[in-house]
């Protein structure tokens, strides 16, 4: 049973003139909750929906998608009474920090926010998201690729968000470097390791790939591909944490070998030095997500025509698998004064044929809807940056092989922070990755227990 913060909290709400109403809404949401219901909540009637969509409403939408006003304009044209204010509150973690702060303060939170798949449990645990089932979300169960729908579903069947774009992982490689040293694109991790040694022996200044010491997303994607299940939400107050299980150790030992051998670098990614590295041919491959190709073509323009795409090397060539890195959803924040309008906007933005197509042509997102992934107009694109290869088809095929049941913990920020300081550090220090995984396991379980979770291993 939660005891709300009273004296200081109330005083602050009083001082912020407009904060009172939303403060009490949040208090009602956080305090005295009867626990999540297992039955489907009552649906909002069509009459209510129609009325809400005709009432002049202002919605605030926090998102970092560039130029999303184009898609929003399509919505506003159809529903002229609703005006959506787009706010860029930061990309990824900075936005989540602001969102959490606003929710805790009880004022300043938006009606909708862009939330990446991996952060949904973090926000659904603190009851910060609206269940979208009353607003007709269930009918879209087959619109989206299966594993994305699993990612937005709660443990009691709630639907927390609409998938917007995805990031199934593949490998972008420099064809010119491979050709120069007589290397074939590796199909298995064993081939990858052999190719790394060969490349490093031929040219010590070029690395087979960069395994960034600060990029937990790639690590989780690789685990996902290997079939690991490091986190499981076994109940509202219990989690299973096994980040140092046999599969993780297998992946860890593999990369430890490559890093210690010197054929793989561990520079922090998305920094100036890393961009320079990509542009100057320091890295022969980039293990990345489906949003990588467009990103790369924008940030390493000088290398146009030299890259190609391929699936990730496999542990078992007979059973191709992949993981996911990134990709976002649109979620409705609890406490919004306009839940119907917000839910309908989220639904429209991510399911309407026109807006979803615009996401692929304007922002070059990798789609989450089954229809677009099968659409030849999307899959037949032949960008010159990749020498005319049908990159989208490669990643669309990969998308089908992403494992369905990977889960994220409800405290991802802390888990990522601990990963950076243990496993990430072991990459950078060329140290014992297995031991670092054990330390990470210890730190995550300690944190979870401290926060009141029942932890199983």
């Amino acid at each position: 049973m939660k005891r709300p913060f009273l004296p200081g909290f109330r005083r602050r709400a009083l001082m912020a003139a407009a904060g009172m109403l939303s403060a009490s809404l949040v208090l009602a949401a956080c305090g005295g909750s009867s626990g999540s219901s297992t039955a489907t909540p009552d649906k909002v009637s069509q009459a209510d929906v129609d009325k809400a969509m005709k009432t002049p409403t202002d919605l605030t939408f926090w998102t970092w998608v560039p130029n999303i006003k184009k898609e929003v304009a399509v919505f506003e044209k159809k529903y002229p009474a609703i005006h959506v204010k787009i706010v860029n509150a930061g990309q990824g973690e900075p936005q989540y920090t602001k969102l959490r702060t606003a929710l805790k303060a009880g004022s300043g939170a938006p009606d909708l926010a862009q939330i990446e798949f991996q952060y949904i449990p973090t926000f659904s645990l603190t009851k910060s998201l609206e269940d979208l089932r009353p607003y007709g979300a269930e009918k879209h169960a087959n619109t989206f690729v299966d594993w994305t729908w699993n990612q937005v579903k709660g443990s009691n069947g709630e639907i927390w968000a609409y998938p917007q774009d995805t990031g199934p992982m593949g490998m972008l490689y420099r064809k010119d470097i491979f050709d120069k040293y007589g290397i074939k694109p590796p199909k298995t991790w064993d081939e990858f390791a052999a190719a790394s040694k060969k490349l490093h022996a031929a040219d010590p200044n070029v690395y087979m790939t960069n395994l960034a010491a600060n990029q937990n997303g790639v690590w989780m994607g690789l685990l996902w591909q290997a079939g690991a299940k490091p986190f499981e939400n076994t109940g509202a107050d219990s989690v299973k944490v096994s980040v140092n299980d046999a599969t993780s150790k297998k992946v860890g030992d593999y990369w430890e070998g490559l890093i210690k051998g010197g054929s793989v670098s561990t520079d922090p990614d998305f920094t100036d030095a890393w961009y320079q590295g990509l542009a100057r041919g320091k890295y022969a491959t980039w293990l990345t997500a489906a949003w990588g190709p467009v990103f790369l073509s924008g940030s390493a323009k000088g290398t146009s025509g030299k890259w190609r795409a391929a699936p990730l090397p496999q542990w078992d060539a007979a059973k191709p698998a992949s993981g996911n890195w990134g990709g976002s959803t649109t979620a409705v924040i609890k406490g919004t004064k306009n839940p119907i309008a917000a839910a309908k906007f989220a639904e429209f933005l991510n399911t309407d044929a026109e807006t979803t197509k615009m996401f692929t042509t304007e922002q070059f997102f990798f789609p989450a809807t089954k229809s677009l992934l099968a659409d030849p107009a999307f899959t037949n694109q032949k960008p010159a940056f990749y020498g005319g290869q049908q990159v989208n088809q490669v990643f669309a095929d990969v998308s089908d092989t992403v494992d369905l049941s990977f889960q994220w913990p409800p405290f991802l920020d802390q888990a990522v922070n601990d990963w950076d300081e243990t496993v990430g550090k072991s990459f950078a220090d060329k140290g014992d990755v297995g031991g670092a995984l054990d330390t990470w396991q210890q730190r995550v379980t300690d944190y979870a227990k401290n926060q009141g979770f029942k932890v199983s291993q």
């Binding site: 913060f5 922090p268 922070n417 990430g424 550090k425």
Partner: protein
């Protein structure tokens, strides 16, 4: 001897006149201070009280808020990472502050001596880094320190020498000390220069009569005269060093395996609050840091007072 006096006013009205003037002066004083006091109360005292209140509780992601008494403080006192952070900023303080204050003092003395030809340009030039926001300064220096593509590294490549890894484990503290010195020498110099300007000039005339050289004047007259200002700079530096936050947080992006989330106590409190959502423990850590700063400041005060008394 005759004394001419005005007809004496009744004693009561004279006293009443005095207290009413004093009272209206006092009221005026309070009225002038009120805006500051209001801001001070709202933005300093109330948040401080709220943080103190928060530090006595514990909010878990599962299970809500419980009263924890002094548990958070006990945990903080036993926290190795916090202790490591405090020792690190103490090392930083010992390393960086003497160098910065000496540089600021030399610069202030140089300008004050009047021997410098372009003293105005010099003054502005040293002060400009202070006008650069610390975020911009750190990003800029982070680029300069870059191992592969930073200018120092490029220069090293060009002349065939190996450049040290400024953002590596061994040199990180020194690199940050360099950034902070670059930022704040000008600020301290201005304070010391203002104090130097306030020294009565007849002291210099007396020294000139006695045949003292410029160096002598500087060492025996100027420096002792600005002791209070030097002490002020020292206290500011204590507070600034122990609260080090912006530089480590920004450099963390460039060297994530060197700077962890408990590199400095302030960074630790920030990570606890905003990444780990452990707001209560973060409040306790902040208060403990405040206590450490107060202890260090007072010990300096004590030492200098004793010396001035003896």
């Amino acid at each position: 001897m005759t004394t001419t006096t005005a007809p004496p006013r009744p004693a009561t009205t004279r006293k009443a006149a005095k207290t009413s003037t004093r009272r209206s002066q006092a009221t005026a004083g309070y009225l002038f201070v009120t805006p500051f006091l209001l801001v001070f109360l709202l933005f300093f005292l109330l948040p401080l009280a709220y943080a103190a209140y928060l530090s006595l509780f514990r909010e878990q992601l599962v299970g809500g808020t419980v009263f924890a008494g002094l548990d958070n403080y006990v945990r903080a006192l036993g926290d190795e990472r916090l202790l490591g952070g405090v020792l690190r900023v103490a090392r930083f303080f010992v390393l960086q502050v003497p160098i910065m204050l000496v540089l600021a003092l030399l610069a202030a003395l140089a300008i004050d001596s009047g021997l410098l030809r372009v003293s105005k340009v010099f003054r502005v030039g040293i002060f400009i880094p202070y006008a650069v926001p610390s975020v911009v300064a750190t990003l800029m220096w982070g680029y300069l320190y870059g191992r592969d593509f930073g200018p120092f590294a490029q220069l090293g490549h060009a002349i065939g020498a190996a450049t040290p890894n400024f953002l590596g484990d061994g040199l990180m503290l020194g690199s940050m000390a360099n950034i902070v010195t670059w930022e704040f020498t000008g600020y301290n110099m201005i304070i010391l220069y203002a104090a130097l300007r306030a020294i009565p000039t007849d002291l210099y005339e007396a020294a000139a009569v006695d045949g003292a050289s410029s160096w002598r004047i500087a060492w025996n007259i100027k420096v002792p005269a600005i002791r209070p200002a030097l002490f002020l700079c020292l206290i500011f530096s204590v507070i600034g060093s122990f609260q080090l936050f912006a530089e480590p947080q920004l450099l963390q992006r460039l060297a994530p395996s060197v700077i962890d989330s408990a590199y400095t106590p302030n960074l630790y409190a920030y990570t606890l609050a905003f990444t780990g959502q452990e707001v209560n423990y973060a409040a306790a850590v902040s208060f403990l840091l405040g206590v450490v700063i107060v202890v260090v400041s007072y010990s300096f005060l004590f030492v200098t007072n004793r010396r001035s008394r003896s």
